[in-house]
């Protein structure tokens, strides 16, 4: 049982890793906490880089489908999302 956490480019660069594999089926609150933990003493960097990011579960904005304490499911993909514009 595990889930994948995909990081934004800035988070990935700061952590030296594009994605994290988390064992079990944590909640979103735990995902945030566990990801922040990876930053160790640089937790403030994590806070800054996620200040205007949303969380997405399997492509869907998590705030529409999950509370902070809803357990995720095995194989879920959680992504940090930043608004962007392209064309």
């Amino acid at each position: 049982m595990s889930i994948t956490v995909e990081l934004t480019y800035d988070l990935a660069k700061a952590l030296g890793n594009r994605r994290l594999e988390l064992e079990g089926t944590p909640t979103l609150r735990q995902v945030l906490a566990l990801t922040r933990e990876r930053f160790g003493a640089e937790g403030a960097t994590f806070d800054q880089l996620t200040r205007v990011t949303a969380l997405v579960v399997n492509g869907v904005l998590a705030s529409r489908t999950h509370s902070q304490d809803t357990p995720l499911q095995d194989g879920d993909r959680v992504s940090f999302l930043k608004a962007a514009a392209g064309g």
Binding site: N58, V60, S63, T65, A85
Partner: protein, 626 residues
């Protein structure tokens, strides 16, 4: 009329004659210019059923009242003709410098008629009111880069490459390093044996209120520079800065749109490019403060304009390729050979899936860059299998099968936003008159990629947003302004809201439920609010508001619709590929885009009958003459 040069230049390539005539003021008031005026001309100048690659298809280059001013993002021109790719309305817009040149030459619209038997180029001097017809045999076969270098500086050029010469159905027209890419306008130029148009002049555009325009534009430039999208994200990462967002949203075309996510998409993102291989920032659209163009190095070529998001996605993850060096090279080839990299990427992806399913021995396989550069060259020169791919996915699917995964609407290959995770964008693709394109509304910004997004997979507002956005895009493409200017409409404060916070959720909740109020607000004719409304007002002396632009946009959209109906393209073509409708890419859904639930509502809002035909009262209200 202020804001216009007041002249149409009409050129006949067969007789090598030309003439100037006045711009029609009534038409300009109804259609602004650009795409709108061009569509009106095309409708009036041609009967139904002409051969898009025959002499009777005029190629219309059209500017609008904002071109030639110093308004940021305003150096764009529209090209209108019958599309050889779709058989319906063909139109494309392009940055660069050609629009500015036309206006300086005192020309609002250039109509090129008939065909030359031998390669030709035009030199237009607006100060001398002259057009010179010059042999271009020496340039025939040259890339767009070499052609423009040969034509020299000091004039503004619009040229085709080998793809246009060989009538690749998705060939484009290039100005500087920008391309009018969509619907095959370059093939029409090639069918006329017209290699290049160069224009020069020193005329000054007259504005109704120069002082107000200058003061406002100066203030606005500062605003744009501090805007989170125009001044920061687009400026820093270019349009590729959206790759990680569409990937997280599961709408990044992957493996010929089979999936919406690629594990290694980050390697073709704007952020990655900044750290790996970016050699400069390039603004090849003059007077643009955003400078979204990137500069990269291609081995054996040197520094060239880098890929846009569409190119990175469709020549990248869509082919299961995430090595930027390849994407950079193929992007350069597409630009230099003069073809639309969106249609190219989708066509290559389709050929790969045909190969995978044993329907075509294309030699192209997902994830393998081998042979792609050569194939792009073969497409541009219509050699071997390249001749097949040069016709786009619709025709290929008619020859080889695979219609269910041929990713097009009305024959135009889909852009790089998967509509299964962006329902309003799906309605926009299905109904847009030129086919499956994202810049005829960009609805996805309100549901998937922007700072304030409604639920992309509910039905709320999914018929309303495309109508409003398509109308606005029609107006913008007729001014002619860059669609990116609309990104500035969402203020900085909204971008700074925490998407996880309560205020953000409350605003999106209310927006989703705004329904009729949303449409009503956009129709109001109170006062100019946005910069394009103010610019138009200061330049022309007429008052333009959101309501006026919605009305003008709806008029243009309905005229395009009537053109398509005249060509036999109607409601049956307002659809999406089978894969989009019936295959899910989201684990919580067992089907694709719910177009059948949204189309009736869309038609109703448009004032069309259930078959998608504009009602007479709609045409009368909008003053659309047919």
């Amino acid at each position: 009329m202020k804001g216009y040069a007041g002249r149409i230049l009409d050129v006949d390539l067969a007789s090598r004659t030309f003439g100037f005539r006045p711009l029609d003021e009534a038409t300009a008031r109804l259609y602004l210019g650009g795409k709108g005026y061009g569509t009106r001309l095309l409708y009036d100048l041609t009967p139904a059923g002409i051969d898009p690659l025959g002499p009777e298809n005029p190629l219309i280059f059209a500017t609008g009242p904002l071109n030639g001013s110093l308004a940021p993002q305003s150096n764009r021109f529209a090209v209108v003709c019958k599309s050889p790719l779709t058989g319906g309305i063909g139109s494309a817009a392009c940055g660069g410098s050609f629009a500015f040149g036309l206006k300086k030459a005192g020309i609002d619209i250039l109509i090129v008629r008939n065909q030359s038997p031998t390669p030709l180029r035009l030199e237009i001097d607006g100060d001398k009111d002259s057009v010179t017809f010059l042999e271009a045999t020496d340039l025939w076969g040259q890339g767009t880069r070499a052609t423009q270098e040969a034509l020299g500086k000091g004039r503004n050029h619009a040229v085709i490459g080998p793809a246009g010469e060989n009538k690749v159905l998705y060939a484009g027209i290039v100005s500087d390093e920008r391309i009018a890419g969509r619907t095959g306008v370059g093939a029409v130029m090639g069918s006329k044996c017209l290699k290049a148009i160069s224009v020069t002049g020193t005329r000054k555009l007259e504005l109704e209120d120069q002082e107000k325009f200058n003061d406002y534009t100066k203030w606005l430039r500062k605003l744009f520079r501090s805007h989170p999208v125009l001044g920061e994200k687009l400026r820093r990462y270019g349009t590729m800065g959206i790759v990680n967002t569409t990937n997280a949203r599961n709408i990044l075309p992957t493996r010929n749109f089979k999936y919406g996510h690629h594990d290694d998409a980050m390697s073709v993102s704007g952020e990655y490019l900044e750290d790996h291989g970016l050699v400069g920032v390039k603004s090849s659209c003059i007077h643009c403060p955003v400078a979204c163009g990137r500069e990269v190095t291609v081995e054996g070529v040197g520094r060239v304009k880098g890929p846009e998001y569409e190119t990175a996605a469709l020549l990248g993850p869509n082919l299961e390729i995430t090595d930027l060096r390849w994407v950079n090279e193929w992007n350069f080839l597409a630009d230099d050979l003069g073809m639309d990299s969106i249609s190219l990427g989708v066509t290559l992806g389709f050929a790969m899936e045909l190969q995978e399913r044993g329907l075509l021995q294309s030699g192209l396989t997902f994830g393998d860059a081998t042979g792609i550069s050569a194939m792009i060259q073969d497409i541009a020169h219509r050699r071997g299998l390249g001749n097949d791919l040069a016709d786009g996915v619709k025709r290929m699917s008619e020859r080889h099968g695979g219609a269910g995964f041929a990713m097009h609407v009305k024959g135009l290959e889909l852009s790089a936003y998967d509509p299964r995770g962006s329902y309003a964008q799906g309605v926009e693709y299905a109904t847009t008159n030129r086919g499956g394109c994202h810049v005829q509304g960009a609805s996805m910004y309100f549901e998937s990629t922007g700072p304030l997004t409604i639920d992309p997979q509910s039905l709320r507002l999914k018929a309303e947003i495309p109508v409003v956005q398509q109308n606005l895009a029609c107006a913008i493409n007729s001014m002619v302004l860059c669609i990116f200017t609309t990104y500035g409409m969402i203020p900085k404060q909204v971008h700074e809201l925490d998407p996880k916070g309560r205020l953000h959720r409350t605003i999106t909740f209310l927006f989703e439920r705004s329904g009729p109020m949303y449409r009503l607000l956009t129709k109001l004719k109170l006062a100019p609010v946005t910069w394009f409304e103010k610019w138009l007002t200061y330049i022309t002396g007429q008052t333009f508001t959101s309501g006026h632009l919605q009305e003008i946009g709806a008029r243009i959209f309905n005229l395009e619709r009537m053109y398509n109906l005249r060509e036999g393209i109607g409601g049956a073509e307002d659809t999406l590929p089978h894969r989009m409708l019936h295959e899910s890419t989201f684990p919580h859904l067992d089907s694709g885009h719910p177009l059948d639930q949204l189309l009736p509502r869309y038609y109703e809002i448009r004032g069309w009958d259930p078959q998608g035909v504009p009602l007479q009262r709609t045409l009368d209200r909008l003053q659309v003459r047919t």
